[in-house]
């Protein structure tokens, strides 16, 4: 089952949790064990009918994990800032202020002054307001890229996992090809052909990079489900194949995919920032987005005013950290090895 040409060991790699080999293996191994755990649990439940569901059990363990709590707090803070950006930010993030632009020179960007807590950016706009509003765009890019990648990946993975056979083979060879390139390089390749990069090209490129990862993960999980007893039971009861796939296999196979999505949010934000840094990002100077702010400041203004890079970078690190902490805690929580 292990397909060593491509070993998109994303879950395993960023783990710490379990050191199992490739992701497809890991996915299947994990699901295999989960299946066993479910069966054990089923047996238990029928015996005493007071069993705790796997999900509830996972949530219980999450709540006791300080890493999960810290991650969740960071994410909630990030969401709150994004939601209430207009209330927090003192100025319009796109407005250029005369009192700031007049002091802009080639080697000076004014720092903090009255009404501008973090000073000006390279175009005489309020840096603090741009940082606050930046949370919105960053969230937008990260979430959308992840969702699109997840959607397409789930579609591919579900089809492969549901049909098996040559469909599975064909689709998985296709993901192999995509996985033969390192992530950022694939994203660069995708953006490279576009004449006019925009926010959407960035989102799509980052999304497509994640498609094979989600596809393989879900496919592995689905295949494990195919052989499981509850699917067999459903088939014996004469449930339609479509309903078996949609109602019985897919929902049960989604957990690792959702966990991976949480981790992907953090890499998506960093990848978008990297594309900006390479000059392949969103060219819209008006829009405030952390990745673009960091990429731009990193290249052009680091020597003039490094704060312009420091703050967006710090924001990105904190948010990425939040999603990573929560995602990894979630992964550990659904890992049956940790069940008691």
């Amino acid at each position: 089952m292990s397909d060593p040409v491509t070993r998109p060991d994303v879950v395993g790699q960023r783990a710490g949790g379990s050191p199992a080999g490739g992701m497809s293996e890991r996915g299947i191994g994990l699901l295999g064990e989960r299946k066993k755990a479910q069966l054990e649990q089923l047996a238990q439940a029928s015996a005493e009918s007071g069993g705790v569901s796997l999900v509830r059990d996972a949530i219980r363990r999450l709540r006791r994990n300080p890493a999960a709590i810290i991650g969740a707090i960071l994410i909630v803070l990030f969401l709150l800032i994004a939601i209430f950006a207009p209330l927090i930010a003192p100025h319009d993030p796109m407005q250029r202020f005369d009192e700031l632009t007049s002091r802009l020179t080639a080697d000076n960007i004014p720092g903090a002054s009255d009404g501008f807590p973090l000073g000006s950016d390279q175009l005489g706009r309020d840096f603090f307001s741009r940082l606050i509003y930046g949370s919105r765009q960053t969230l937008f890019v990260g979430v959308l890229a992840t969702l699109i990648g997840l959607g397409l990946g789930v579609l591919l993975g579900a089809v492969a996992g549901a049909f098996g056979g040559w469909v599975d083979n064909l689709l998985m060879r296709f993901t192999d090809v995509m996985l033969a390139l390192p992530a950022l390089l694939l994203a660069i390749t995708l953006v490279a052909v576009v004449t006019r990069p925009s926010q959407w090209t960035v989102i799509l490129a980052v999304a497509i990079v994640n498609v094979p990862i989600f596809a393989r993960l879900l496919r592995g999980a689905m295949l494990a489900q195919r052989e499981s007893d509850h699917v067999l039971a459903a088939r014996a009861l004469g449930v339609k194949e479509r309903n078996i796939v949609l109602r019985h296999m897919l929902p049960n196979a989604m957990t690792p995919v959702i966990v991976q999505a949480t981790l992907t949010l953090s890499t998506a934000i960093i990848e978008a920032a990297s594309l900006s840094f390479l000059g392949l990002g969103d060219p819209d100077q008006e829009r405030a987005e952390w990745g673009a702010m960091l990429g731009d400041a990193g290249v052009h203004y680091f020597e003039v005013r490094p704060e312009l890079a420091y703050y967006p970078a710090l924001a990105i690190i904190v948010v990425a950290l939040g999603f990573t902490l929560l995602g990894e805690a979630m992964r550990d929580a659904i890992d049956p090895k940790n069940r008691r």
Binding site: P4, V5, T6, R7, D9, G12, Q13, R14, A15, G16, G17, S18, P19, A20, G21, G22, R173, F174, D176, V177, A180, L181, P182, A183, L184, L185, I188, T189, V191, A192, V193, V194, T195, R196, S266, I270, A273, S274, F277, L278, G279, L280, L294, G295, G298, F302, E303, P306, A309, A313, I316, I317, A320, L321, T324, L325
Partner: protein, 335 residues
């Protein structure tokens, strides 16, 4: 074993051919293809038609691809649009720089990563462990190009410990033999150049090593923790084996398998990081070439060859990793 290798090699070839076809079609059939890159958007239709004909783009895509593959198999990737030089030459010049950087980065990542991960696992829950875990979390959460600028700012602007960019100080005599600067200086016994090139190498290598090192530390730690709980470790202890033997033969050897996978994966992915790192330090390797061939006027022949090269490196390393299992894990050998 031989059958497995042959099968894997075949798979590898198929993957590469499929990738080359996809890349070929992708780079040609989207808006802003090479014709526009060469002529600009406002070229007259006549000129455009002429160029399309000259480049052979009026032929069916399969015919074009066939011709392309024919030339590729003879080692001809065409000429760079920007400089006019043969693509193989352009890449050949940049290749040693990146390999040197990548090698240095992996030496740092593996050399520090495995011991750190091992120590963190052995002293689980102590302060070294906590520091390591926090450090690796930061390592995978920080955009490495930003880390690069940070290191550069601190160590070249504030305290002048390292040179800010490039591979060698201008004026230092370094005769090129292989293109690997450190190796060259050793071969020609220009030891001041050795020191200078190593000096230039440290910061970029550290930057590039960040992610692989963080990942290697985490995998090693997790893997060692798993093995520590195994019965055979307890048995070995009960037998009264020396700690050194237990550590070397029982713990490390068994824990190393996932670590080797990770090292392979990370090595294959290094080019991603190299693109970013090389831009920060103006390194002039393959990463710089990738960036330049996109932002400096879409140099498709170069880009195409680079992507295929990256994929080739990636899949070959993966194959090597799988084969190396046989040497580390006796159970695989039996199969």
């Amino acid at each position: 074993m031989l059958r497995v290798i042959v099968r894997r090699l075949l798979q590898l070839v198929v993957t590469l051919i499929a990738l080359s076809a996809l890349i070929f079609i992708w780079l040609r059939n989207l808006p802003g293809g090479p014709v526009e890159a060469l002529l600009g958007e406002r070229a007259t239709p006549e000129r455009r038609a002429l160029l399309i004909k000259a480049l052979g783009y009026d032929q069916p895509i399969l015919v074009q691809y066939g011709k392309f593959m024919q030339r590729v198999l003879t080692g001809d990737f065409g000429n760079s649009i920007r400089t006019g030089d043969p693509v193989t030459e352009v890449i050949g010049r940049a290749f040693p720089a990146t390999v040197e950087l990548a090698l240095a980065a992996m030496i740092i990542a593996v050399g520090l990563g495995i011991p750190l991960g091992y120590l963190a696992a052995r002293w689980r829950g102590r302060s070294l462990d906590h520091l390591t875990v926090i450090g690796t979390l930061l390592g995978i959460s920080i955009p490495i190009f930003f880390l690069g600028y940070l290191l550069k700012d601190v160590f070249t602007q504030n305290i002048h410990w390292f040179p800010p960019s490039g591979r060698v100080t201008t004026g230092i005599d370094n005769t090129e033999v292989t293109g690997f600067f450190v190796l060259d200086s050793l071969l020609t016994r220009e030891f001041d150049a050795t020191a200078d090139t190593l000096w230039h190498l440290i910061l970029p290598a550290l930057t590039l090593a960040t992610i692989p090192m963080a990942v290697i530390v985490r995998i090693t730690r997790a893997s060692v923790l798993d093995v520590l709980n195994e019965d055979y470790v307890r048995t070995a202890e009960a037998k009264g084996l020396r700690h050194r033997t237990i550590r070397g033969r029982h713990i490390l050897r068994n824990a190393l398998l996932p670590v080797v996978t990770t090292i392979g994966l990370q090595t294959g992915a290094l080019l991603s990081g190299a693109v970013l790192t090389e831009k920060v330090y103006n390194w002039g390797g393959l990463g710089t070439l990738i960036t330049d061939s996109i932002t400096g006027g879409r140099d498709y022949p170069v880009l195409q060859a680079l992507i295929l090269l990256a994929a080739l490196v990636f899949v070959v390393i993966n194959l090597l990793v799988d084969l190396s299992y046989a040497f580390i894990d006796p159970r695989v050998r039996v199969r």
